[in-house]
């Protein structure tokens, strides 16, 4: 670990701290339909959209209508993406590589993946998706699913803030405003900044270039295995050219981060030099991932009238973030203890530590920082191979997702995710002050606890059950690339990532099989919508309640003590649920590695 690394990490958190308030205020104004500086441009567009679609912007929805509208919108969007994927070879535009239709199971998986803001990718973008599919199908979902997430968070905040009201806002209005006022403008700026760093933006067919130095590589046989000659020697092939993929990358890259989507244009995601060419672009992408989720904590405080509560939630997120990044950075910077003869020290000549699977232009600190951020938030973009991390370093991204991505979290999803934990923390500890637990003046009663428990249950249920099936059934284990605990971690990571709508891949697991495509798609859909519905039910129920004014006897949700309690509840609930699985995965692997055994 170096001072430089630490400074980058601390400065990053400082930047997030700095953007929280202005962005939070801006979002509060946007969703309260107050005037902002963007109104002269966006308001006419917004009105036009409503007139075209027949949306009454003053109509207020109950939580049931809100949920139903959201489901309908997501369902139709998902079908649309599926149709585009399946027919991309027939469509006349923007398919310079003449890529064929996407296979049904994969198309289903991808449609579910992008609709749920997961962006789990069982394909390589450059070899599967036409430019049209990327732009109209995938990028559209990057905006739409992010806007849905933000809308839901705002609806939940309204549920807390409103008193004795039946409604929690209008889904169409929230979603439209999230797109027009927030996502679009920021993406335009982001895309331009990325282009300035060298991210490509074109519609050209792929380039083929001559290699400066032709390479000898082993030939691959028809069975997919490296070919070996009759003399037992590998059959070699000389490669003299390389295909360089192109495409409208920059426009998709900005929303990939800003909307915490994470679906890469290319297979290598943000490790690819055309997606993330420089340390600056890397920093910018990380900043974009956390910006909106951090800002929403301030919006929460502002709209509920308890700014200090917003900061208390922010602080809990920051504590968990720092814990994660410190662990990952420490584990990776210390490298692999088995390579005792190798110089793994940090010096001017080398980054040191465990550099396997990391980009040299980012180094250890910025790679582990990226890995922590992308899994804290439900983004899933990667700039390195989590599979190649040391067992403990690789456990950090896994645990981050297991904490339901509440550490800033996905756009919107992070906020309503942590608020469910807040409800639970308030209920468990709230009784200890001798009152019926209250959260910002709303009593937490049986119905709220029931719904919160449902949300909390769905997540481990799909992860554990599907991982368990995959770990003993042939169709599950056949996809893993390493035996032993590492293989278990690969499966566990895959389902955790999909259930948490993260989408980052641990790597190493072949997900493009019938089982993983189908089970994965179901996992993503359940992980998103089965958690949203009870969450909205709580919002609707809270909105109906009477407000109890705070007094000295009220459970404090604005103090450092509350932050500590919230962190404790998140860690304990997460740890208690997943500790057995983790102990046979990364923990066991780490201990065996220390003892000299690897997989």
């Amino acid at each position: 670990m170096t001072a430089n690394g630490w400074i980058q990490i601390i400065v990053f958190l400082g930047l997030i701290l700095a953007v929280t308030k202005p962005l939070g205020i801006f979002m509060a104004r946007v969703f309260s339909r107050e005037r902002t500086f963007l109104d002269p441009v966006m308001r006419p567009v917004e009105r036009l959209l409503y007139r075209m679609t027949g949306v009454d912007e003053d109509h207020e929805m109950r939580w049931t209508e809100y949920a139903l509208t959201m489901l309908l919108f997501s369902g139709v969007s998902m079908l649309l993406l599926y149709a585009i994927e399946r027919s991309q070879q027939l469509l006349p535009w923007l398919n310079p590589q003449h890529l064929p239709a996407v296979a049904p199971a994969l198309a289903f998986n991808t449609a579910a993946s992008f609709t749920t803001n997961t962006n789990w990718q069982n394909y390589g973008g450059e070899s599967t998706m036409s430019y049209l599919t990327q732009m109209v199908g995938l990028a559209y979902h990057n905006f739409a699913s992010a806007a849905v997430g933000i809308a839901l968070a705002i609806a939940f905040i309204r549920g807390i803030a409103r008193r004795e009201k039946e409604t929690i806002g209008n889904f169409w209005v929230d979603m439209t405003r999230a797109t027009l006022w927030l996502l679009l403008p920021m993406c335009v700026i982001g895309a331009l900044l990325l282009v300035s760093q060298g991210v490509v933006q074109n519609l050209k067919p792929y380039d083929t270039v001559k290699l400066v130095e032709p390479q000898q590589i082993q030939k691959t046989g028809p069975d997919g295995k490296p070919m070996v000659g009759q003399d037992g020697k590998p059959v070699m092939d000389t490669v003299a050219t390389q295909t360089i993929a192109q495409g409208p990358v920059a426009s998709q890259e900005a929303i990939k981060e800003l909307g915490t989507n994470g679906g890469g244009f290319f297979n290598a995601n943000s490790a690819h030099p055309f997606e993330n060419p420089t340390p600056f672009s890397n920093y910018l992408e990380m900043f974009f991932i956390f910006a909106i989720p951090a800002g929403l904590t301030y919006t929460l405080g502002r709209m509920t009238g308890s700014q200090r509560h917003g900061w208390a939630v922010w602080a809990a997120m920051a504590v968990l973030f720092l814990t994660g990044v410190t662990t990952a950075y420490w584990a990776e910077a210390h490298g692999n203890p088995l390579l005792s003869g190798v110089d793994q020290r940090t010096s001017l000549a080398q980054p040191g530590g465990n550099m396997e699977g990391k980009e040299v232009r980012f180094g250890i600190a910025d790679s582990t920082l990226f890995a922590t951020i992308t899994t804290d938030a439900s983004c899933g973009a990667i700039n390195g191979w989590h599979d190649s991390y040391t067992p403990l370093g690789g456990m950090v991204p896994l645990v981050n997702i297991m904490l339901s991505e509440t550490v800033f979290g996905g756009v919107g999803a992070g906020l309503y995710g942590i608020l469910i934990y807040v409800v639970l923390a308030v209920f468990i500890a709230g009784l200890m002050v001798g009152r019926t637990p209250e959260y910002l003046g709303k009593k937490i009663e049986a119905y709220d606890v029931k719904m919160a428990m449902l949300v909390t249950l769905v997540f481990p249920f799909i992860i554990l059950v599907l991982t368990a099936i995959s770990s003993v059934a042939g169709f599950g284990t056949s996809s893993i690339s390493n035996p032993g605990p590492h293989g278990l971690t690969q499966i566990l990571y895959a389902f955790t990532s999909m259930a948490g709508n993260n989408g980052s891949a641990f790597g190493g697991l072949n997900g493009n099989t019938l089982w993983y495509n189908t089970a994965g798609a179901m996992t993503m859909l359940v992980g998103r919508f089965f958690m949203i519905i009870p969450m909205l039910a709580i919002a609707g129920n809270l909105a109906k309640k009477k407000y109890v004014p705070p007094s000295l006897g009220t459970f404090p949700v604005t103090t450092p003590l509350f932050t500590v309690l919230l962190v404790g509840v998140i860690l304990i609930v997460g740890a208690l649920t997943f500790f057995p699985a983790l102990s046979l995965g990364p923990i066991l692997e780490h201990l065996q590695m220390v003892a000299g055994k690897t997989f």
């Binding site: 639970l424 209920f427 468990i428 500890a429 009784l431 200890m432 002050v433 001798g434 009152r435 019926t436 003046g441 937490i444 009663e445 049986a446 606890v449 029931k450 428990m453 449902l454 909390t456 249950l457 481990p460 249920f461 554990l464 059950v465 991982t467 368990a468 099936i469 770990s471 003993v472 284990t477 032993g484 605990p485 278990l488 407000y547 109890v548 004014p549 007094s551 000295l552 006897g553 009220t554 459970f555 103090t559 003590l561 404790g568 304990i572 740890a575 208690l576 649920t577 997943f578 500790f579 057995p580 699985a581 102990s583 046979l584 923990i587 066991l588 201990l591 065996q592 220390v594 003892a595």
Partner: protein
């Protein structure tokens, strides 16, 4: 204190003995279903019992695990039975009062007939004469009598009950000591006050309170999560090449699910009810007890609650030219025949301050002038002296009749006293004002501190009084209440409650009169005085058998303590799981993966001893916490922040650490005696 007198030792032999039997009877699965957490443990116990003779692994280990699982269920049942047993013991004393009696029912056409009290219906009219038991709850419509209510209140001094007014309600099972009364029965047999009380303390009619239901959902949810974690662990174990026995898996499950709070939850609820009864307060529902914990505003009647019932003379302020002793002498003389508490206090003050003893007046020609509504004065005519004392305006009128006026200085003193919240009484002798007696409301000792505590807990106190605003302000300042309602009419009281409730606050109040009934019904917690009218008792959701309005504060504290105990044990129970993982997970897999022994941070001897120790700890902690569940966690009046910090430290952090120590100790013990 009443609670000291009645509270029993926790481990009363008789109660323990019957609780042991009850805990076996409660194993009936249909009864266990109400408690999802313990039901899962029972199912686990049944499974391990069935597999006991078929399993190939160590029989001794499996047997011990199975036994301890059963003990876990039994201990939880025992906790509940203990709480119920204590309630029953209380009910037993009550039931004695309910012995069958014969009643004289008045016939519509006149005359009476003897019927068994059990045959009386609501609306019947009965005659009760001295020495007889009152056959049922009712309202006196004719007569006055002294009644012994010790059967219910434990208070041996008889109380007066009379027709009309606010003291007309009588309770079945109490005894008329003198005179005779006619009572209109107001409840059917089986639903009398006593019946309800018995049912409540016995826990027979106990319904789960809203909060308890919410907590049960949380516990059920956690149980399902842990069920998932354990059930899916087996496939992971198979993948890793070290499948587990059912015994070990069930052990892990039972250790993880919140058995501590699950086992003690109903005991906590029953014990809370029981604590109220020990304070001689009868709650109509558990819901009311919970609401008491949530109260934001307390409406307290000034008289009897904040101040002693009566005003007392505190000072003599003589008019110019009169000595204090002179004035005290006149004041005492005028009050000698005054039997009101105020009058007596004047005599006492004169005696203590000026050494004036009560004098023998028989020798003199003393004619006492009693207080009348017309003159609003009292006094004495003695040896040509005409001494009068009374309210200012009455004395002014008296002086005017005799052509004199009140001196300016006296007028000034009167105003000073009024402003300070006191009541001035002017004393005059032979048409001349002698001075002013300062009658003062005496705030009960310790009230100021209690109000300060209540404020720290975020509870606002409002004093209700019929006094004028000036007086009310002065007393509320002295007592340290947050607000007051002066010249309060029942409607004002009602409006105040509505106003507070509209702001989302919960309001508690006490009351006894029929005109209090609407407010009692409107308040979230309405404590009716047992001495009050039937209407008041019906309207409130609690009845204080001692008729002590100050007890409202204790009721609030009991409500809070109940909620705190639940929260504390829930937190403790969940925090415990961390240590259990560290005991059981390495034990499960250490045979296949010796490196996992690093997680065995307690250095438990063998895998068997580790699992067994965790299970034993899990069972014993229920028993160990029974006293805490029955007594409630230590309660202190503090702000929520301070309470949370303290309880999180004790039950959260303590809950993390305690099982590490406990499990290690049990491990040392059982390996020492070679059980595992």
């Amino acid at each position: 204190m009443a609670d000291k007198k009645k509270s029993k030792a926790i481990w009363d032999v008789k109660i323990v003995r019957s609780a042991i039997l009850q805990s076996l009877l409660k194993l009936n699965p249909r009864k266990m279903m109400g408690n999802p957490v313990m039901f899962v443990v029972e199912v686990g116990s049944v499974v391990t019992t069935l597999l006991l003779f078929r399993a190939h692994s160590s029989f001794s280990f499996n047997l011990q695990i199975t036994l301890w699982l059963w003990f876990t269920v039994l201990f939880a049942n025992f906790a509940e039975a203990m709480a119920e047993g204590r309630g029953k013991a209380q009910a037993e004393t009550l039931r004695k009062a309910r012995a069958e009696t014969m009643a004289r029912r008045l016939l519509p056409g006149g005359g009476e007939e003897m019927v068994a009290s059990a045959k009386l219906r609501s609306g019947d009219e009965v005659l009760v004469v001295a020495g007889e038991f009152i056959p049922g709850d009712g309202e006196i419509f004719e007569g006055i009598a002294s009644v012994d209510e010790s059967a219910i209140t434990g208070e041996s001094a008889p109380v007066i009950r009379e027709a009309g007014g606010d003291r007309s309600a009588v309770t079945g099972g109490t005894r008329v000591l003198s005179d005779q009364i006619k009572v209109r029965i107001t409840s059917d047999p089986g639903s009398t006050f006593l019946d309800r009380m018995i049912a409540l303390v016995e826990g027979a009619e106990r319904q789960k309170t809203p909060n308890e239901i919410a907590l049960n959902i949380l516990l059920a949810g956690l149980t399902i999560i842990f069920l998932l974690a354990v059930v899916t662990l087996q496939p992971f174990a198979i993948y890793s090449g070290s499948p587990q026995t059912v015994f070990v898996l069930v052990s892990l499950l039972v250790c993880l699910i919140p058995t501590t709070i699950g086992g003690l939850l109903s005991a906590i609820g029953i014990a809370g009810m029981d604590r109220l009864v020990q304070h001689n307060v009868l709650a109509m529902s558990g819901r009311a007890v919970e609401a008491a914990g949530d109260v934001n505003t307390l409406l307290l009647d000034k008289t009897g609650t904040i101040t002693l019932g009566n005003r007392q003379a505190s000072e003599f302020i003589p008019a110019p030219g009169i000595t204090a002793a002179q004035m005290a002498d006149a004041a005492q003389l005028s009050s000698l025949a005054d039997e009101t508490p105020e009058g007596r206090s004047i005599v006492v003050l004169a005696k203590t301050q000026y050494g004036l003893r009560g004098r023998e007046l028989a020798a003199h020609e003393a004619v006492f002038v009693p207080f009348t509504a017309q003159t609003r004065m009292s006094g004495v005519n003695l040896d040509g002296r005409e001494i009068r004392k009374g309210a200012v305006d009455a004395i002014i009128k008296y002086l005017q009749q005799h052509g004199t006026v009140l001196p300016k200085d006296v007028q000034a003193s009167v105003e000073t006293i009024a402003r300070s919240g006191g009541t001035p009484l002017v004393v005059a002798e032979n048409r001349r004002a002698l001075g002013v007696i300062h009658l003062k409301d005496i705030v009960k000792g310790g009230m100021r501190e209690r109000f300060t505590q209540l404020r720290a807990m975020g509870i606002k106190t409002v004093m209700i009084t019929g006094d004028n605003p000036l007086t009310a302000a002065a007393i509320s300042r002295e007592a340290g209440v947050d607000d007051f309602l002066a010249e309060a009419t029942p409607k004002d009281k009602m409006d105040l409650i509505r106003r507070e409730q509209a702001e989302g606050k919960l309001v508690a109040m006490t009351g006894d009169g029929t005109n209090d009934a609407p407010a009692l019904a409107q308040a979230d917690v309405g404590v009716a005085m047992n001495s009050g009218t039937q209407a008041a008792k019906e309207a409130g959701n609690m009845v204080d058998l001692d008729s002590n309005p100050t007890k409202l504060i204790e009721v609030v504290e009991i409500g809070k303590q109940l909620l705190m105990t639940r929260g504390a044990l829930t937190t403790f129970s969940i925090a415990n799981d961390v240590a259990k993982y560290f005991a059981i997970i390495p034990a499960m897999f250490a045979a296949t993966f010796p490196v996992l022994n690093v997680l065995n941070i307690m250095h438990l001897k063998t895998p068997e001893s580790a699992v067994l120790s965790a299970v034993i700890f899990n069972a014993l902690i229920i028993i160990a916490l029974v006293p805490l569940a029955l007594r409630g966690v230590a309660y202190r009046a503090r702000s929520a922040e301070a309470l949370l910090r303290r309880n999180l430290l004790i039950y959260g952090v303590g809950g993390l650490i305690a099982p590490f120590i406990g499990i290690k100790l049990i491990d040392v013990l059982i390996t020492g005696i070679h059980l595992a």
